[in-house]
Subunit: 111 residues, 2 copies
Amino acid sequence: MDMEKGPLERAAAEEYASWFKALADATRIQIVSLLARRRTPMSVGEIVAASGVGQSTVSHHLKILADVRFVLVERQGTSSLYRINEACVSCFPTAADVVMGNPVPAPPTCE
Amino acid sequence: MDMEKGPLERAAAEEYASWFKALADATRIQIVSLLARRRTPMSVGEIVAASGVGQSTVSHHLKILADVRFVLVERQGTSSLYRINEACVSCFPTAADVVMGNPVPAPPTCE
DNA sequence: TTGCTTCATCGACTATCGTCGATTATCGAT
DNA sequence: ATCGATAATCGACGATAGTCGATGAAGCAA
């Protein structure tokens, strides 16, 4: 394998970036930390009430977080219950992973 | 202290986000990993040659990384030598930090 | 069925971001 | 002082992303 020349392959760099992009927004950070505080799943309405942004905006961010498997959804009746994905939290790449050229964790791509 | 109601304070969320934003771009990931591979400082010209994007673009990204203290600069003659900041790499927040509401590391704000 | 509630999706607007080419500033050497 | 090399800054462009209001879709109850 050619790992001597140049930087990371572009593809690997993009995959890494897609991880960090998921947490590169203040609203998403709030949503994630909110879901973590309440250990129990939350409906979209609850998240909207607690986060102070519009319902469509929350839905949008939840979709982004769900695409990366950072949160998990479970439809219950007329409402969607979201909870954070502990497994995804622990496999989230660190800066050291990037710097050491470790293989990129899988979840973001397995959408 | 009020840590029961609502999500993270907006300010803390923004500081967290500013960390992740720094690595939320494939080109910056490449630059960082490139600087880490070569243990020795690199000039902008070398980084340009290895990263395949324009000189002004590289300079722009280096500035972003330097603002967050992720890389350190040292002017030497007519060229600027960049190297990664190991200290900043190790204090880079993890997803677990966000989820557990840990205090945001300092460097990004100390610009 | 008709309503009501909850959420996802759509369309539009704005702001931010990444990229480039060109210009400017700084340093060294002649 | 002038020239050449290196890198930072500027201005502009296109693309992406965050937000909102409005609309649409799915479920439940009457």
